[in-house]
Symmetry: C2
Subunit: 147 residues, 2 copies
């Protein structure tokens, strides 16, 4: 709840107008336990009001991202998900085979982040990181399906 208000305030303070549509998009995004796709945001918003268009969802998500309030990540393939920045930093271990993912402890990346910063002056976006690979169950089936 408060999370939504924070986002709304941030938008308002940056000169954006708060419309019912934007509120609903923000709420859908903030209430999502994890990341959701644009389509899922649309569905959730649509469940509350038919007076929202897909284009508006995309436009609102773009605004949030532009303001650094949300992030967009491509979980391999064509799967694009969104999340508010307030979900905190986290790592996704995305299985390239079953497309499921595990959340990993962000702490594991701390030292890597420092090294990359020192060596390459590159600031990895730890807010929303996604590492492709193979999950445990797919590692087993991997060999078997090579027929």
């Amino acid at each position: 709840m408060t999370q939504c208000q924070t986002l709304i305030q941030a938008l308002r303070q940056n000169g954006y107008r708060i419309t019912p549509q934007r509120e609903m998009v923000i709420e859908a995004l903030a209430h999502a336990s994890h990341h959701i796709t644009a389509e899922e945001v649309y569905e959730r918003v649509r469940a509350r009001s038919r007076a929202v268009n897909r284009a508006t969802v995309y436009r609102t998500l773009d605004v949030l991202i532009g303001q650094g309030l949300a992030s967009r990540v491509n979980l391999g393939g064509a799967v694009v998900v969104y999340a508010t920045r307030q979900h905190g930093s986290h790592i996704h271990l995305v299985c390239r085979q079953c497309l499921q993912w595990i959340e990993a402890d962000p702490e594991l990346l701390a030292s890597l982040g420092l090294q990359l910063q020192n060596h390459y002056r590159f600031a990895v976006d730890f807010q929303h990181l996604c590492l492709p690979g193979l999950c445990q169950s797919c590692q087993s089936t991997q060999g078997a399906e090579e027929s």
Copy 2:
């Protein structure tokens, strides 16, 4: 050269037929210094023969990926690139702002890989990893453009 032959042999042994089109796609991919987009593969192949269709390029790339001979990676945004597995493991530090990327030393990820394997039984795909973030120059402009 030999790299192409290896790929071709692998396909042949898995029951795929080797056509001039597939050879050309494989050569274009294998000779690419880094990763290339599907469109670039198409252009390179097209430069050698007009008798190749975009659909064939996509289909061949899919076959290669299905066989684990190539990988597809989304460098943020709509940029999708391909590379043969034989290019060895490497990390891309992709700037989410200017979309340019730096190659980082894969060794930096070695310990992280082990930890993720131990903690989560997840095998990160180090063959072709891509970390989003901000490059040095965009880190400077970042603060300035927040108007």
